[in-house]
Symmetry: C2
Subunit: 269 residues, 2 copies
Amino acid sequence: MEERLILVSNDDGMHASGIEALIETVRPFGKVLVVAPAEGQSGMSHAITIKVPVRVHKVRNEDEPDVARYICSGTPVDCIKLAISRLANRKPDLIVSGINHGGNSSASIVYSGTMAAAMEGCVNGIPSIGFSLLDISREADFSAVKEIAREIIERVLSEPLPEGVCLNVNVPQVPISEIKGIKICRQTKGFWIEEFEKRTDPNRKDYYWLTGLFQNLEPDATDTDEWALNNDYVSIVPVKIDLTSYDTMKKIKSWETEMVNSLQKSKYL
Amino acid sequence: MEERLILVSNDDGMHASGIEALIETVRPFGKVLVVAPAEGQSGMSHAITIKVPVRVHKVRNEDEPDVARYICSGTPVDCIKLAISRLANRKPDLIVSGINHGGNSSASIVYSGTMAAAMEGCVNGIPSIGFSLLDISREADFSAVKEIAREIIERVLSEPLPEGVCLNVNVPQVPISEIKGIKICRQTKGFWIEEFEKRTDPNRKDYYWLTGLFQNLEPDATDTDEWALNNDYVSIVPVKIDLTSYDTMKKIKSWETEMVNSLQKSKYL
């Protein structure tokens, strides 16, 4: 049997300790291809680089014969696309992204470069998982996440996820002995308020920094990722790349004829 | 009754003709607040600006007393966040994004700044619609989309969409008389192949341009947005901001105990 190929990326950049923790975690599972941004790309979501070309540099690492590393000037999604179309000699068997320095629960998933990389893998039909630790510090302790990640990776490799579904894994910032367990959760309904702080520069021009407070719209629900994390559980949200609301499709089906009738009355159609 | 407040944004920038077409379309519905990127931001997806501050400039337009215009240095999502938290004097009644110069059907939705702006509105509990025309030229003819957009906006204002759902509207590149009708669709399964073109710069260094061919994974399905557009129908996909795969939650529920047992055996938990 051919050895597995595991693709690793993140949004904190190649120099983050989170990606080192993830590389260590996946090395026992096969050959490792790392394609990571040159710089931090937090909040880049699913952005792709269109206006400027993308550059790639191979990192010399003779002491790691089972790991190939590339630094890419683009976004996390560029890294995945470039890895799949140009750098990997075959389709990877698994894509892991992270370990993110900071949580990606609730609506954060739409802004997260970590989860965008996983979702891009999923769009390409590759089993994909994003890992995040609720600790934004550079010196975050990834030992708990590494054990949990290994367990989840084993599970995903032995029991494939449904087509078009990847995983969003968040780990609370507590020692592994204090983790209460693992919860399969749904994405919490929430959003941010008061999101821009206004300041004035030395030239008396205003500028704004993105900031804001997360608002959990369902603080009493116990099946959400926010609840799990606030209660020291690991949260695993299975994430779909098909964003269609099938319930709404049924609900607004009658618009098809109603709108065409209306447009015909006004002689547009 | 207070006059409606309509927030308009896009990802092609304030100077695109698509946003002018959209502003004209929404003016009869109420007061208009336009917050658009200074430059084109296609492919920026749901990216937010974190590393640098965001600048905003009011555009002088004395001849348009019902329209307030701001140019923002950030992404489409920054525009929406800034509008809601800083520039609007109250919560907008409707957010419209576009009209995009180019289609956003199938998996394009995850890369699209146009749809990210609409989804950001939806995260904030505001009825939101993204409009795209399948014509990337600067001189695209928006007359058909304007009529269709007016019809859809009227419908959304009179029959509110379910919570957490916005609309992804794509219009084929044909004269309105050739449009066959309107289809409520699901997002087509698809992805891109051969995505990076390699070139060599004058300094003999390699660089890559993002390119690629869209692969429709279900060309025979007739309920998808790709089918609708290829057959000269307008496609409307209702889009959820909750990405949870509820089916998968049930399917992997047993992992909760299985993984904890496994971790306890290895004495981690």
